[in-house]
Amino acid sequence: MSKEELRNKNASYRSKLLGWTILPVTLLLIWQVAAKYLNQPWIFPPVTSVIEQLAHPFRQHYASGSLLSNTLISLLRVLLGFSLAAVAGVTLGIVMGSIRIIRSALEPIVEILRPLCPIAWLPFAIAIFKLKTLPQLFGIKYSRTIFDQIQLGMIFVIFVGGFFPVLTNTLDGVTGVRRNYLLLAKTLGATRRQTFLHVYLPAAMPMILTGLRQGIGLCWFVIIAAEMMTGSESGIGYLLIYASDNSAMDIVIAAMLIIGSIGALLSFAMRRMMCSAVRWHGKEV
């Protein structure tokens, strides 16, 4: 390693140290001092009481459940809705991207529905699905599990939120497949079905994963907003608005920190998956 490289490495190490420890700790200290000075915890609670809330994730907050149970409910809603969106989005994206007629037939509908904020679907979804839950879909009135908190309307809204980023990115990925790869597959004897599976799908994989990453991020945004709407009775978004109504600002901030961390974790996990799954991306030759 040359001197300059060493210097650069040290510099980046120092900025990382600053970004991960010194800066956050300083901010927390300022926050703590300011909150103590202000002494109005229902508006601006001290760090210590927020940490105290985070340290007790099982504590029941009136009728709204604990930080942990509500977080799990939100996560489960997102994972279910997003999985459906991923399967549907990737499949339709590949079909639309590779079959011109289907693409031109569906494009207008997609273009009209895509810019629509997923939250705008919520009243409609609740009207359609009422407050029907996932177990009720299978004829079980109460399963006495977390699934009783999984309303179909919520799943639908999450689905809408995740579907369009996955679809449009997959579509871009598929239409961007180099013609050479298709010709190559054709001359090597691939059938139409084999071309879908062995050329379109892997060639579009970097874009598909980008779509999935955007999609899950958006789903996490959408679920928080959806849970804050009237009619909701569980989830971390619900706990946040409930705590706010009860002037429990320490719980509000604890919920915010949890929401932010989970969003970052989801994004990080997707990025890791992306790096290992498509090492070749951007290195086509």
Binding site: R178, L183, L184, T187, L188, G189, W280, V285
Partner: protein, 262 residues
């Protein structure tokens, strides 16, 4: 070691490919008419290694695409030998993007066999055999982006040969390589051709390459592309670039090519 040139004895071999008066016109997005090929006549016999030389953009790629069945001629007659079938035994090697970047070298070579439903162990054996022939045994698990340009084209040749093609179409496959690598690969290709008895149509803009490889050199005119002359190359293989016959041929082809520029 000297190989006897096989093109001498090929005249009575059955026809692999015949083109008569083949024309093809494209329309650009702006609606402009671009005539790529005009009245191309070409006859290739089984087991021949024919090189097609012409300036860049003279419709050579269009011609290969027509032969590979990736496109249709507007006019004229294109006839394949009896045992040749599109998507079955006509392989194609491009200059760029000729390997699937998401597959390892080994899985690139097995692609064609996988599409044919050949068992995993069988296709692996076949691929390993071909990889050793092109000198890539140690790189079976590498990905295309980890290979040098020359290694990639070696892998591409193995990938094409894996399906046991009756005909191999090559579109300036060595065009992006440095001189030394290019010569190595010309040697590899020549040896494989002598061993496999495959018909090869090799497109290049490099006259030297055309003479080194070809049993016959077909000279193509500028757009619209058509055949202006064919040279039978009777030189023994491996070919020595420093003989007077070689340099004479080089000059003749050079003149034929530039002659129609004037």
């Amino acid at each position: 070691m000297e190989f006897e040139d096989s093109s001498k004895h090929i005249v009575d071999k059955p026809m692999a490919l015949e083109l008569r008066g083949v024309s093809k016109t494209f329309y650009s997005d702006a609606g402009a008419e671009v005539q790529a090929l005009q009245g191309v006549d070409l006859l290739i016999r089984h087991g021949e290694l024919v090189t097609l030389v012409g300036a860049t953009g003279c419709g050579k790629t269009t011609l290969l695409n027509l032969i590979a069945g990736l496109d249709r001629p507007d006019d004229g007659y294109l006839h394949l030998g009896e045992d040749l079938n599109f998507g079955d035994n006509i392989a194609y090697v491009f200059q760029h993007y000729t390997l699937f970047p998401w597959r390892s070298v080994l899985r690139n070579v097995t692609f064609g066999l996988q599409m044919r439903g050949v068992t995993r162990s069988e296709r692996k054996n076949r691929a390993l055999e071909l990889l050793s022939k092109v000198g890539l045994s140690n790189f079976r698990d590498a990905y295309p982006h980890e290979l040098s340009g020359g290694m990639r084209q070696r892998a591409a040749i193995a990938q094409a040969l894996a399906i046991n093609p009756k005909m191999l179409l090559m579109d300036e496959p060595f065009g992006a390589l440095d001189d030394t690598t290019r010569r190595e690969l010309q040697q590899v290709l020549t040896e494989l051709w002598q061993e496999q008895n495959t018909t090869i149509l090799f497109v290049t803009h490099n006259i030297d390459e055309a003479i080194v490889l070809g049993g016959k050199v077909v000279v193509f005119s500028e757009r619209p592309g058509k055949v202006i002359h064919e040279f039978e190359i009777d030189l023994p293989r491996p070919r020595n670039r420093l003989t007077s016959q070689f340099t004479d041929l080089f000059m003749q082809i050079r003149k034929t090519l530039s002659g129609q520029l004037d």
